[in-house]
Subunit: 283 residues, 2 copies
């Protein structure tokens, strides 16, 4: 998905937020904003927005020496989600369609996003969960169910910390034995890393890999060989979140996307109302 | 008031909105955003944000040939406000403190702002009116009342179209014989021009002048000689709206500001909660 003009004010908003997470010095914040302006002035709008996001976060890490400004936030988000886990498990236990509900809960978890229009507060998560309990996913769930049933191997691309705890419920329904979970290779926003997958307990049930990249999405040219191989050969790929949708919507293989359409541009691109919970097959 | 770093994403948002009001050509929108990035890269943050706003709107007028992209919106806003006038007059008629209520209604009208966090819809205006009916202004109204009582001449700086209809109610309470109303000298956003003052019927009750400038605020160095003279010599100056507050908060004379603190930066600067209805004496 290309960068839209509407992404630009939002990228500046994100850059400012990230600068404030990394440093208390207003001079650092101003310098970063001016740098982003220089880069954006001749940016390639054909590339997805997370390419610019990556550049911003890399630059901040270099300028401030803070390797993972979102670490504390990610830890809190994992804890928040873990506290909700028992009640979600209880809801799942009695659900007539466990795979369906688990997928909807996993999409609700996508609200835990610090990139733009997310809301990682408990109130935000509760609201998304209520929506998940009452609304079907927008997309062809029957086809997704068939694809899941048929697949011998599944690659699951995680998105954010906290959200990855919700992903665990879906992964349990998919059947962990055939699932590999991939996280980002280095800090990018509040995107999940290996530590977050472990916080969610995923290391106890599935194989976890990292994709070798620090992009807040999956930029295939930047991922490790190991990741590329498994991305190619997995029979089913499930990609969570908006960053993965933006970067993989034109991937050279079918990918099932699960995300919450939190911003008007994403909703428009996916042809759904703002805030909708979406299941979409790319390619 | 200086430009804050948080103003920058908002300026881009405004530039994009204005570009779309002026042209249907995405290439024009993109070109403008890239131009704004170049300018912002070395902008003087010590100047108020409307200085950049002015540059954006001027550039758009030059690039598109559309002299007043907000003309239609302004006409609708005047009509919307005129339709509300009878019920507001009825409320005022029975008010124990007519000047107080008229000031609160005039501030409610400041929601009709297309610059940032405004909401010129009927629902937005109704919400602001409910707030005006129930909440006192944040500020020293007793001092304002004394200043009004004492003043032989009053200069009233209008802000937006639509809003200027609400201003009429306050101007009637101030006593039109001693009031001069000033509007912008040329199109800037949905800021009121002479035509809007006439739409509000102000030409029937007061002297109206324009300030000779196309800034979405009052940049004193740019205003006409006639305006400067009356600005200096008026015994009382009342300035409506956020653009006037941003540009005149350090003016070389006392100014009474009346505005709705629609964005977090303005609220922060004025020391009030977001959305508060504010009365403030500058200098």
């Amino acid at each position: 998905m290309k960068t839209t003009l509407d992404c630009i004010p939002c990228l500046f908003r994100q850059a400012l937020d990230a600068a404030r997470m990394s440093s208390a010095d207003p001079a650092v914040h101003e310098k970063l904003l001016r740098d982003v302006m220089t880069w954006c002035g001749d940016m390639d709008m054909n590339k997805p927005a997370p390419v610019m996001g990556q550049r911003i976060y890399r630059h901040l890490r270099g300028a401030t020496g803070v390797k993972d400004p979102y670490l504390k936030a990610k830890n809190s988000q994992n804890l928040l989600a873990l506290r909700l886990l028992p009640e979600l498990r209880a809801a799942l236990k009695n659900a007539p369609d466990r795979l369906g509900l688990a997928a909807r809960l996993a999409v609700a978890g996508n609200i835990i996003d610090m990139g733009g229009a997310g809301d990682p507060s408990l109130a935000g998560v509760r609201k998304a969960l209520r929506q998940a309990m009452t609304e079907p996913l927008r997309g062809n769930f029957a086809a997704f169910r068939r694809a899941v049933k048929k697949a011998g191997t599944i690659l699951y691309l995680a998105d954010n910390a906290g959200e990855i705890v919700f992903d665990r419920l879906l992964i349990e329904e998919l059947g962990p034995a055939r699932v590999t979970v991939a996280v980002r290779g280095a800090p990018a926003l509040n995107d999940a890393l290996l530590a977050d997958a472990r916080a969610a307990g995923l290391h106890e049930i599935v194989k976890i890999i990292d994709n070798g990249s620090d992009a807040p999405g999956t930029i295939l040219e930047q991922t490790s060989r190991a990741f590329s191989a498994i991305f190619k050969r997995s029979e089913l790929v499930i990609a969570k979140g908006v960053g993965n949708y933006e970067t993989l919507s034109e991937a050279p293989r079918p990918v099932w996307f699960l995300f919450k359409a939190k911003c008007p541009m994403i909703a428009d691109c996916a042809g759904v109302p703002l805030g909708a919970h979406v299941l979409r097959l790319g390619k």
